[in-house]
């Protein structure tokens, strides 16, 4: 299977009082065609910036310092903005956290979809309108013939997110990035929207990058999971591997801090001591070492590379000794 999207050594930095500091540090990953990848991490771990970099929506003062992004074998960071504009929506598109603010408030939703359709194929307005109605139907909007003339404020959050998805799919892209796409929705709507994205991805053979801080959402939806921490990719493996046999202490700690109905209410909820490091104050060596229960001197001495361990990629010196497959921690 070919890799539709591949990111090599992507680094993004922001200015601070101490000069430019790295917020996404040497991140590499691949998304094969038709796969659904979940990217999880805390706020500030660099998930969204990575997504914005894929769409080339990074704006000054934030800047991409290095790395390459290949979309369908073509490097996109080096393209002129005019060349890349033709790929936006056509090859890669994105859906957003807050559907209410992602739509023009004073334009009918149909018009916004039609505009996008006509942008990607030179069809007449009436053909585009038909296509827009079909799209609305395919994203599960009831009575699309009348809903097409609604304004955004006349629709609910879940419906708006469906409209945003319809717009994202109007150019028939191959890669869909969902940046916290279900975070602003309530849980039942969240589930329906995820199911919808899942269905559409299967129908259209889309590769999906789902960015979320919700482990449950990521587990339900994805084939593979990437775990980000403090601008670094710390673990990358299948859902099964990440959730059943995490091989990085951070992933393990993250899973242990989950709080659901199975926990013992008489025990305190486990948490990871401390705070994620600020970008301008990252520790030397492994970024997780100051908070890690298993840290050794070598962990703060040098940066552990992302290496293959137990069938997945992980960035920990001690993953082999700490997390034996099948071993109970």
């Amino acid at each position: 299977m070919t890799n539709l999207l591949s990111v090599k050594n992507l680094s993004i930095s922001v200015p601070s009082a101490k000069g430019r500091v790295s917020v996404v540090d040497n991140v590499s990953f691949e998304i094969p065609a038709g796969k659904k990848i979940g990217m999880v991490g805390e706020s500030g771990s660099g998930k969204s910036l990575t997504a914005y970099a894929l769409m080339r929506l990074i704006k000054s003062p934030v800047s991409i310092d290095g790395g390459e992004i290949f979309l369908n074998g073509r490097e996109i960071l080096g393209l002129s903005s005019k060349e890349f504009r033709l790929l936006r929506g056509n090859e890669i598109s994105m859906i957003y956290q807050d559907p209410m603010s992602a739509l023009n408030p004073i334009m009918r939703v149909g018009q916004q979809i039609i505009e996008s359709i006509q942008l990607h194929s030179s069809v007449s307005k009436s053909v585009a309108r038909k296509a827009a109605i079909d799209l609305l139907a395919s994203v599960g909007i009831p009575e699309p013939e009348s809903r097409i003339d609604s304004y955004p404020f006349e629709m609910s959050g879940g419906m708006l997110q469906r409209v945003v998805i319809a717009i994202a799919l109007s150019g028939e892209p191959k890669v869909l990035i969902a940046d916290e796409a279900t975070t602003a929705l309530d849980v039942t709507t969240q589930d329906r929207v995820l199911t919808l994205i899942d269905k559409l991805a299967a129908e259209r053979n889309l590769s999906v990058l789902l960015i979320t801080h919700d482990l449950g959402v990521a587990a339900q939806f994805s084939d593979d999971i990437m775990v980000m921490y403090a601008g670094k990719l710390v673990e990358n493996g299948s859902v099964e591997q990440i959730f059943s046999n995490p091989a990085h202490p951070y992933t393990k700690a993250l899973l242990d801090s989950r709080c659901d109905y199975t926990i013992d209410v008489n025990k305190p909820i486990k948490s990871i001591a401390g705070q994620p490091p600020r970008p301008d104050n990252r520790p030397s060596g492994c970024v997780f070492s100051p908070r890690c229960a298993h840290a050794e001197p070598k962990c703060s001495a040098s940066v552990p590379p992302l290496t293959s361990s137990q069938g997945r990629l992980t960035a920990c010196f001690r993953s082999d000794e700490l997390f034996q497959v099948g071993a109970v921690n």
Partner: protein
């Protein structure tokens, strides 16, 4: 965009003022230029609603006709300011960088000069007529409009839906025409209304110091000047044009405020 039709006193007054002054020839009871030597300095009465001036001309008719000139100058100035100011601010807001710096610092510098002084210099340079006055007033009002438009454009460009539209592959020019401009239109409308009030004031001020509309044509400013000259024998004369100017400015300003408030409530209710 759907505006709810709501009753607004200030809007009604604005409409009435514009309507009545434009329809002056149909309404005015006398010829505003007809001199009647037998009836100078008459007080307000039923035959002459606002009295007559030193040449026996009916003040009410003169105010109606004067209003035409004042209102037309104000409207023309407002439109000129809107076009220049919006372009000025939009270019700055879209381009940013050094273009933005140059344009906005120019606006700041222009605003630092007292308007009336600037107007005086312009009038003495190009003369005053019904053509030059709107252009001068329009130019003077455009920096504030530009500043407002720039801020609105910058805010819109950073909004999620503009970024989202950009991510679908929309060209920058389309982005501005379909996403940005319609969304800043309400703010421009507020500015339009405030500018109209300022333009009325500016015309009245210039004419009052004798640099605006020249007799025998009358504008509200020239009528006030005439009334000021005769303040000691006919104190009521200056009262009427001053009252009309006050009401007009108040109406335009409060109508602008009205639009602003209704915009705020729409923003917060969404």
């Amino acid at each position: 965009m759907r505006f709810k039709m709501r009753f607004s006193l200030s809007g009604l007054i604005v409409l009435a003022i514009v309507g009545i002054t434009l329809a002056a020839p149909l309404i005015s009871p006398y010829d505003p230029y007809a001199i009647d030597g037998a009836e100078p300095f008459l007080g307000p009465s039923l035959t002459h609603l606002m009295g007559t001036d030193d040449l026996g001309r009916d003040l009410f008719s003169r105010i109606l006709y004067g209003g035409r000139i004042t209102i037309l100058i104000a409207l023309a100035a407002t439109i000129i300011a809107l076009i220049i100011g919006t372009l000025w601010g939009m270019i700055a807001g879209v381009q940013r960088g050094w273009v933005d710096e140059i344009l906005m610092r120019t606006a700041d510098a222009t605003m630092a000069i007292p308007q009336i002084l600037f107007a005086l210099v312009c009038v003495s340079a190009v003369g005053s007529s019904v053509f030059s006055l709107p252009i001068i007033a329009g130019l003077l009002l455009s920096p504030t409009t530009a500043r407002m438009a720039r801020t609105a454009v910058v805010v819109e460009l950073a909004s999620d839906y503009v970024v989202a539209a950009k991510a679908t592959g929309l060209k920058k020019s389309r982005l501005i025409m379909t996403e940005v401009l319609p969304n800043i239109a309400p703010q421009l409308l507020v500015q339009l209304s405030i500018n109209a009030a300022a333009a009325v004031m500016m015309e009245a001020s210039l004419s009052f110091i004798g640099l605006g509309i020249q007799p025998p044509d009358a504008s509200w400013g020239t009528l006030m000047l005439q009334g000021y000259g005769n303040l000691w024998n006919t104190s009521w004369f200056v009262f009427f044009p001053a009252l009309v100017v006050t009401i007009t400015i108040l109406a335009f300003n409060s109508y602008g405020e009205r639009i602003r408030v209704s915009l705020d409530s729409r923003k917060s209710s969404k």
